[in-house]
Amino acid sequence: MNRRSTRLVALTAAAGLAVAALSGCATGSSGPEETGGDVTLTWWHNGTGEPLKSFWEEVGAEFEADHPGVTVEIEAFQNEDLQRTLIPNALQSGGDAAPDLFMVWAEGEIKAQVEAGYLKDLSGLTDVVESVGGAGTGWNVDGKQYGIPFRFGIEGIWYNSDLFEKAGVTETPATFDEFGEAIGKLADSGVAPIGVGAGDGWPAAHWWYQFAIKTCSGDSLKKAAETLDFSDPCFVEAGKNLKTWMDGFDGDLPFQSNPTSTPAQSVPNSAAGLLAAQTTSMELMGTWHRGEVAKLVPGAPAEDPPAPEWLSWMPVPDIEGAAGEPGAALGSGDAWGVYADAPDETLELLEYIMSEDVQTRFAATGEIPTVAGAEAGITDPVLKQIAEGTVNASLVVTWLDTQYGPVIGQAMNEAIVNLMFGNGTPEQIPEAMNAAAATL
């Protein structure tokens, strides 16, 4: 058992089981562990893989060295566990159980935590807030900044340039028509054109999101996010466009077979694994995909696997004549939030993590940083391309499931998978979203 658990056991024993249970009061002591001026800060992140895990530990150690008496306890957790169960539970427990510094997701995700009063207002860290610029807006709730993004980028289509070449696709498609032609050539060459991990829902849903931001105007999207009313006809239109595009191909195309039992990532038979094994030639994914594909390349070394040379990136093509804002892109990032009762040293730690120096080194590990100037650390040409694309996008729309929160997000994603691979209709997507919004 680690120290935390032992401490909790002792606390519980002292408080008495039944009393606590029946009165329903929390037994956790409030505030951080402070003995004789020494402070322990707990920091939770989702960088379970290398090089990120070691990098954050290094940063923590540097901070400890500069701040005698401060101990930084860092723990890495799998992303979904961290977001869906660990952090909500820890925040609810409060006191010692809550981490001081942890990852927070944008918009709909952060809102519930802010409303429950779990997050510290970080607006006071003006330099930090300014340094990340527009990327920070997703973590701004009612004019106050509750999260500082440290990673931010838009999604695009990752593709295998070798397979493109073999199939005779010489230019990256700029429009959906050209995209369709490329898909046809790839299929003829014997590879599955696009991999999609519809087993996890969201990777498939992102195709609809792309159609939505290309079909709906910026204003419609903004209004929908504010009112959580999805009656705007453009949402139905988006589904129709997606379905029409898919119906233009034969059989499983443009996707691989068995999409609904294919997970998104982490195992060889996931969509990421199929791209890595060169059995599919494209995948729509966020910036993290580079590392994910790298580790799944057959025979890749366990430590610091390099990204394959054929792995390339292009923005999602435009749809000719669509009403959406030209140049709009989907994207988001990850941010740090601070627990409401966290000791002040946490803010110093946050400032250090968000310093240009740390962010530049962060970029060098294969990430896209947020602090202005840190992009100089990006060495990988593909990531440079994404960073530029992010800066140049006329509008960066946060992942729709993140924007609308988990309840609507889940209903929406399921309805989309149903449209794409089941017997759902375009109308059912906004219907499901509205129904889910009604349960909030």
Partner: protein
Amino acid sequence: MTVTTATPPASRAPAPRRRAGRIDWSQPVVYVVALAVVAVAIGPVIYVFISGFRTNPDFFTDPAGLPNPWTVENYARVLGDSSFWNQVLASTVTALGTTLGVMLLGVMAAFVIARYEFRGRGFLYALFTTGLLFPLTISILPLTVLLRQMGLFGNWWGLIIPQVAFALPLTIIILTPFLRAIPVELEDAALVDGASRVGFFWRILLPLSMPGLMTVGVLAFVGSWNAYLLPLFVLQAGGAGIDNYTLPLGVQFYSTAYGQDTTGVLAYTALAMLPAILFFTLAERRIVGGLQGAVKG
């Protein structure tokens, strides 16, 4: 969950005589059927063990083949992984804790229900037996909330204590008739010898009820060793960290975190299966005994 009645040792039926010496015409058919069932039962398990000896490229070239080449690297890596051993420890400690807890609390309560005459005895018994209708699945959400409020979240106690609670109904149902069947004369003799009733409980009743206790103990151990739902909510959701995970959680974590390494995952899975297979097939008679107590033939 199981509904079980056990039989007082006194009335245990004599072992049935087997029809001796008669060789059936259908004997070969029987072997074929039995071997077919065995093959289906252990085929996948053997596949997992053997595939643990493969390399990943080999595995994906021919998923149904034999290792080519054989390698012990996967197994060596898992066995050299301190998390694996920590998880073995976690599973062992929580299973033993659950087992001891449920045996102690169970036998005490069953003792009172079986051998005391008091108002509310029937109610007490009913209270516990209704527990069979409250499986963990139903109460897991509020239980999580409760454990959180008690600070039992994310540690082994949060696993052990609810597991004891959920194993109590079955334990009491099995033990009560067992304890009741112990003759009153024994108790009277002990009391005449100057023992208190509590002394009688410890020195005479407990040893006599050992067979029943072993059965409930093994059942509680199996339940805890294989448990997934509660550890998932208490340890994983409670942020206990992988070194405090029990084996089932550990296997699942490994399969996500190192999912790219399929044969490594298979080796981890195989090694996690091993203690269960060794221990429980040895204890098969006990488990079956416990479950089959339910079966009054």
